[in-house]
Every structure is written in C-alpha cells, then in structure tokens.
C-alpha cells in the first residue's frame, strides 16, 4: 500500500470525526503511518462534517487528502458536496437513504444510518458502522487493531455498543450490499 486516502463525509452528530480518528489510530496500531484531518462549520451541531484519513506504509509527506481513493457518504448534503469531487478511479460507498436513483453503477450502498439507529436509537454510532463496512470491503487496517482503537477511543459506557456497531457494519457487507 503506497498511499490510501479515505474520506468519511456526513452530518454533525454522526460521529464522523471520531470515526476518522479511530481509523487513523487503528492504522498506526497496524504498523502504518496515518494522518487525520477534519472539516467542520462554525456550528456545533448539524451542518456538513467530514473526516479525511491518509494511510501509508511509509512516512506521509502531505497530510491532507489530495486525491480520494475511497469516499463514504452518510448524508444527502455530503453526497451532493463530495461525490462530484471524486475522481473516476475513486471508489464510492453511500448510505442507502441518501443514494440517488441514478447512483453510479460501481458505487456500493448499505443501510449504515438505519443500522446505527437500530443499535443506538440515534445516529451517534453511524461513523463506527461505516468503519465496519469499510473494513469488510477494503481491509485497510487489521481488524483486531480496529476493534482495539474503537475500545480505546469511545467512552467506556458506550464501548460494547460501539463494538456491536462495528460488527454490524462488517456484517452489512457480508450480507451482500445492494
């Protein structure tokens, strides 16, 4: 793996920034170099939120995403904003709720938000479900490292719920996404 750029884009409150941070920490635990950057608006809730993770086997020069390899979108606003920026080689994963009817044939869609709601009763673990999907699809970090990073990053009382969310994300792919 030379350089892998992953963007998780969604809405404030979906845990997008935490998910990106977990992924970068898992990459470091897996023996790679990683960076994490975030873009957010001045408001504390709602609005667009985005997390970029760069993972490389060697030292990372430019720490920001410059040419996204994989884009995961978790809200309609994020889809309209970031899908057009994806290059033709970039891979796309979309939450089923915000997938348009004319979704690109190579894109994959999964019920990420609905799965998160079923587990937590809110959207809070959406980002972690997305990490499960990502892991099952791309195997970018070691699965054990990802579990370890989730456990270390989330509050203790929500640990089990987040590990469940991660597992559910992996199983969404196992069940064969639409």
């Amino acid at each position: 793996m030379s350089r892998n750029e992953i963007r998780i884009a969604g809405a404030g409150g979906q845990g997008v920034v935490t998910a990106g941070r977990i992924l970068a920490e898992a990459a470091i635990l897996s023996g790679n170099d990683a960076t994490h950057s975030q873009v957010y608006g001045p408001q504390s809730r709602g609005g667009a939120s985005r997390s970029d993770v760069v993972i490389a086997s060697g030292e990372i020069g430019f720490p920001l995403a410059d040419d996204i390899d994989l884009l995961i979108v978790l809200s309609g606003e994020a889809y309209s904003r970031y899908e057009p920026e994806l290059s033709s080689e970039g891979r796309l994963v979309v939450d089923s709720r915000c997938a348009p009817s004319d979704l690109n044939g190579d894109a994959r869609q999964f019920a990420v938000v609905d799965t998160a709601r079923a587990i937590s009763g809110s959207q809070l673990v959406t980002g972690v479900v997305a990490l499960g999907v990502l892991q099952a699809l791309e195997d970018v970090v070691e699965a054990d490292a990802l579990r370890e990073a989730v456990s270390a990053r989330v509050p203790r009382k929500h640990r089990e719920m987040n590990l469940e969310a991660l597992q559910a994300g992996m199983e969404l792919v196992g069940g064969g996404g639409a």
């Binding site: 941070r21 970068a24 920490e25 470091i28 170099d33 990683a34 960076t35 994490h36 950057s37 975030q38 873009v39 957010y40 608006g41 001045p42 990372i60 020069g61 430019f62 720490p63 920001l64 410059d66 040419d67």
Partner: protein, 378 residues
C-alpha cells in the same frame, strides 16, 4: 524512544510548552486555537502551574507578562481577532524585555472571517502589528512534530533573549492529527540570573550579548518595569542618546545571534531551476509537489523557512543566485513574497501562488504551477 501517538498540532504545542517548562497560561479561547487552552487547563494544575481564563486577549497577554516577571515561563494562544487585541502588549513585552510565547493559530480573515478555515494572513501583522521599532521572532512549523520542536525553541529563545516569541501556524496544522514520536529529552534554556548582590544590581544593565539578567519579582532585587524609554536603572527618560541605545540594543541582542534564531529547511535546491518558497502547511504541499516534479524530470527544489522573522534574507539570496525562478506559495494575497523579492534583489524571477479563500494549496495545484507548458513557460 516513546511510542508513536496520533496527536493534533494544538496538542503538540501544549506538550512542547510543558516540556520546555511553561507553568502559566493566561488566555481567552478562540477557534482554531481552543484545544491549547483546553489541554492546559487539564494539565497545568497537576504540574503546580496556573491557568487563568481572562476577560479578553488584552488581559490575557497582560497576565502572561506579569507571570513571567514573577519568574514563571508563560504563554497564551489565540487566533486572528485575539491576536489583533494582543498587539499592544506584544510591544510592551518587547520594550520591557519580558520572555513570553504567543501562539497564533491563523484562520481566515479579516475580522472574524472564516473561524474554522486555514489562512496565512497574519504574517506581516506578526512582524509589524505592534507599533514602534521592535524586534520580532516568529516561528512557523509545518507539521505536528515540528509544532512540538518549535514550541520548545520558542520558549528557549524567549528566555535566551528576553523577548516575546510568536508561533504562527494555520488551522490545518492546529487540527490535523499526525503520528508523532516525542523525544525523551529536550534542551531547556532558562533566563540568566544576576550574579551581583541585590544592592549592586540595576535592572537594565546588559552584558556584552545585550541581554540583561532577569531576577523574579520578589527575589529581593531592584525592579522597575516601564514601556517608556528607560535607562539602565529601568527609570523613564527622554534622553535621545539613551533612547537610541535602548532601541538599538533591543534589535542587536537578536541580530547579533541570527544563527541561533534562523532555521531554514531546503530540499533539492542544489541543481534546481525553480524553487518553491513555502512555509507552514504549504511547505508540506510544496515538498510533495517538488518530489512529483522531480519524478517528471523537472528540476525543482524547496526553501521552507521555519523562522519567518527575522527573515532569512541571506539564505534566500543564496538560493536566488542558483535558480531561475522562485515561486512563493502562501495562503494570503501576497505578504512574505515582498521579502523574498527584497532578498532575491533581481537575481531570480519571483512569482506568486496565492490563495486566500480558506482552502489549502494542494500539491497537485503547485505541481501544475511549476510544470512548464509546451512553450516552456510557467
């Protein structure tokens, strides 16, 4: 060596400050610098330090100056709007020779501008924002690891030269998390203490290197601090010769030791036809662009000043004599480019890649700018 950890630039700043001996933080939180205050309030009390949230940024730097005079290593952190308010006391600290560190995590301006977006719009303000002929040391790290190193260096230079030191980085460096292995030990410099008995001591008598010793207020030494021009006893004066000698000394104590202050990173400039001049996060884009250009057979290089002020005129002049073109890339409408032109003095063509919309300058964009078109033009 310690373990690799994923930390933000703002966290690295706190770790560097504490390692360098900072034990006082007075500030007023503002995006994108707030994580510095947030970490300081958590960590300082256990180290026997003090954190105060002041009523505004004017008072913040005032509290830092007071703490420093009482013998503590002290800092504050802010962003553009707060940095504007701090200008008065930056000048006061320069004139009264109080060691302190001011961090400005730059965001889009003018005014409250773009609170969560990066910029490099405060480069000239960091040099000339406060009035009068004052010296300025301004450092601009370009990675999370370098934020740690530069923060340590800022405290050491502040103590060494009894002067305010400004650390300038942008929102991207402040908020990006990178994998960092922190050093196990660092060099720490402390302000020079008087060797005279208290009865023989006058506060502003400087030895040959131009830096007077600074006892802590309450140590029993004579103490007089004023922003007015003052004599060697520290008392105000209107004497032209005394005033001139003071202002000259304030500059000379730093100018005579530029080798301790100026740090410039160069990369592949030896045979370069075009050099990119970039600092902060743009230095990272530029390095990547230079590497890609070399892969394409273009002789490109990089000059990346870590020290923005005093400006590295000599180092830039050397590169200008070697290359045809220097491309200055900065996230503003053209600030440091004027200094590059002064340094190059016509020896190289100076071009700008300037952007002030709150978006970063990417390696792809810079690669395009340094790649000649079919006619060989850039």
């Amino acid at each position: 060596m310690s373990q690799a950890q994923l930390i933000q630039g703002n966290e690295a700043c706190v770790k560097g400050a504490l390692a360098a001996g900072c034990r006082f933080y007075g500030g007023y939180p503002i995006t994108p610098s707030s994580e510095i205050a947030e970490q300081m309030v958590r960590l300082l009390p256990d180290l026997g330090g003090v954190f105060i949230q002041m009523e505004d940024e004017i008072a913040s730097l005032a509290s830092v100056i007071g703490a420093s005079l009482a013998g503590s290593k002290a800092m504050t952190a802010t962003s553009g709007p707060g940095f504007s308010l701090m200008q008065e006391h930056i000048g006061y600290a320069a004139m009264t020779e109080v060691p302190c560190v001011v961090v400005n995590v730059m965001r889009g301006g003018p005014s409250t501008g773009l609170p969560t977006s990066p910029s490099q719009g405060d480069v000239m303000q960091a040099r000339w924002g406060t009035h009068g002929d004052h010296p300025a040391i301004v450092l601009a790290p370009s990675s999370v690891a370098e934020v740690f190193d530069v923060t340590v260096k800022a405290f050491n230079l502040a103590e060494r030269f009894r002067t305010p030191v400004i650390i300038l980085y942008d929102e991207i460096i402040g908020h990006t998390r990178e994998s960092v292995v922190l050093p196990d030990s660092i060099e720490v410099v402390d302000r020079v203490q008087p060797t005279d008995a208290p009865a023989d001591f006058w506060p502003m008598i400087a030895p040959d290197d131009g830096v007077p010793p600074l006892p802590a207020f309450g140590d029993g030494y004579r103490f007089h601090v004023t922003g007015l021009a003052h004599d060697e006893r520290g008392f105000p004066t209107n004497d032209a010769q005394v005033a001139e000698a003071l202002v000259a000394r304030l500059h000379n104590k730093i100018d005579a030791h530029l080798d301790e202050v100026i740090e410039v990173d160069t990369y592949m400039v030896d045979d370069a036809e075009i050099a990119v001049f970039a600092y902060g996060i743009v230095g990272r884009s530029a390095r990547e662009a230079v590497m890609r250009a070399r892969d394409n057979g273009i002789k490109a290089g990089l000059i990346r000043p870590v020290t923005l002020w005093p400006f590295p005129y000599e180092q830039v002049a050397e590169v200008a004599a070697q290359v045809d073109t220097i491309l200055v890339a900065e996230m503003n409408l053209g600030q440091i480019i004027g200094e590059v032109e002064r340094a190059a003095a016509g020896k190289a063509e100076i071009k700008g890649y300037l952007r002030a919309d709150g978006e970063p300058i990417t390696p792809t964009a810079l690669l395009e700018a340094i790649t000649p078109d079919k006619e060989g033009q850039r």
